[in-house]
Symmetry: C2
Subunit: 341 residues, 2 copies
């Protein structure tokens, strides 16, 4: 399904004069990571595989690479995110081989319901086909807007589960290409525009507007459950790209100003079982927005995002999706491997 | 059940001029960690609580403390282990309040079966009562030997789940005081002497010899399951005190010399689900010895310790328990909080 260019990676490592590397991989590329380790060792480079589960470029194993005496880190499956890295890191985005145009073609009638001027967004997996998709849509008469996005993303039109900056453009509706459910949900919530998700594998489409409304109702229920909470645990993550310390402290201060007992908690992988023994009535996750939104059913206490705390305290009325915002992005990443720093 | 001296900790932090600290705690001291955070904040020191589950001094959150801008780490529940730490760290061992003598008194008849010259060992929780226990036993006519132990432990007579150096002394049998099952099992396996475990809470005793024989049979079964394995994953941990890189590489080389496909894996918390997607027939854990021995039922592949690999490859005949050995230990830790470095 995905292509990893072992030859290019070897070349980059030789330029770095690397003798030992750590390979980090998301769940879906474990076999590819292992093959890459085989290939590198056949070519005289010692390879260590990271067994830790990885969900994104926000959690690079650069510290671990340094600790293991590696000269470089190979981060598979995600594009570069602007972070200070402790060893040279090769980001190897994994592009899906599926052609996105047939799914667009099949669903033209639905897509037309978005309007004439549409924003086009996708995930890193399909970003290499964005221009092809744009070309097809323009030929069909659409005016296609591809947002530049901020520094947290790598390319125009790319969205992450925590960043929808590329979707926030002047358009009537948003067309999302990709297989997931969380990303287009975030797009719909962040833009508040009609959002259609086209799955290039199955050819199916989902209108995300109803899904977004359902999510907002569930989130209001979480907020309601936290109304009587007196003790709050505000959690940030020690994953490099999820450590939102200033924002976490802002939330701690806000809660304290409103008379709530509040403590700041830091942890790597945020999950409820690890917190079971503490004495808090509710939690706020100031890290990956996906944790409170996707995982809340596994929490025995209410768990909120920072904007939801503002609603709880009466400081905000409209629902807002939690995003991790970047700065201005100067240049795009290459559509292939990228060596940083 | 445990005493944590908040006042002493505050004093040590003031000496360090610390303005922000990270508090790390094992499962059983979470409420105490939270009270300590309250106390420190009342006294003008910003406190962050680590939400990560901690199992020992082998996994200090010093890197996390540094990353969070903390001036110091407070590590609750375990005594200092000789490791290079990135911030000043206050180790706060937690001593159990239970009196150990009544359980010894109740079981004198069983203890006499160990012989006249007995080794006395315990865990950090009861180490402050070791001299009291020794006094009682000597009064009852025993010759009591308390081993010095190596640099991985803090006090004479202390055993860890990965280090039984203090039990390896010239004695007829070993008396273990403590509540756990794994520690006295390790003592029995590491010393190969009659070992009696006295639980000071319940007053119960267990002879560990049969337990040790049962464990060895289970471990031989694991080794047998790995006989046909062609592909091995050798796992070390990035937890600072469990990173046994040289030993892991030795095991990798040994397996390769015997014609096995072998890859080195590094991960923080070692558990089978995170490894599910890789293509290995068997695993070797070169980290905390407790993982393969206590958790093997949750692994769908055979999982061995380094000495078990040697048995598998025909390089060793007798079963040996995996230990993490230290160097010579020069001085004991204080029987209270300890500031390092």
């Amino acid at each position: 399904m995905h292509e990893i260019s072992n030859g290019e990676i070897l070349e980059a490592l030789r330029e770095l004069n690397a003798r030992r590397v750590l390979i980090q991989t998301p769940e879906g590329l474990k076999r590819e990571a292992q093959s890459l380790a085989d290939f590198l060792e056949e070519n005289g480079i010692e390879a260590i595989i990271s067994g830790d589960i990885n969900y994104g470029a926000c959690d690079p194993a650069d510290r671990e690479a340094k600790m293991l005496g590696c000269d470089a880190l190979i981060h598979l499956g995600h594009s570069y995110m602007r972070l200070k890295l402790e060893v040279p890191t090769i980001f190897v985005p994994a592009f899906a081989k599926v052609d996105v145009v047939p799914a667009l073609e099949k669903n033209l009638e639905e897509i037309r319901k978005l309007g004439e001027r549409i924003a086009l967004v996708t995930t890193a997996q399909h970003i290499h086909q964005l221009e092809r998709a744009r070309g097809f849509l323009e030929k069909e008469g659409f005016e296609v807007v591809v947002g530049r996005g901020d520094s947290r993303v790598s390319w125009p039109g790319q969205v992450l589960g925590c960043n929808f900056s590329a979707a926030k453009v002047d358009a009537e509706g948003v067309l999302f290409i990709g297989a997931g459910y969380f990303h287009p949900l975030g797009v719909a919530l962040a833009t508040r525009k009609p959002t259609l998700a086209v799955n290039p594998y199955s050819g199916d489409v989902i209108w995300m507007d109803n899904e977004a409304e359902r999510l907002i109702r569930r989130r209001w229920a979480q907020i309601a459950k936290a109304v009587d909470a007196k003790k709050f645990g505000v959690i940030t993550s020690t994953k490099k790209g999820q450590l939102r310390l200033a924002e976490a402290k802002r939330v701690v201060e806000l809660l304290r100003e409103h008379g709530k007992y509040t403590k700041l908690i830091a942890m790597n992988h945020i999950s409820y079982p690890a917190l079971e023994g503490f004495d808090f009535d509710a939690y706020v996750v100031v890290a990956c927005p996906r944790v409170p939104i996707d995982d809340y059913e596994n929490w025995r206490k209410p768990v909120l995002t920072p904007p939801e705390v503002e609603i709880l305290l009466g400081l905000r009325e409209d629902y807002e999706f939690d995003e991790i915002k970047g700065a201005e992005r100067r240049e795009d990443e290459p559509l292939g491997i990228s060596l940083r720093p």
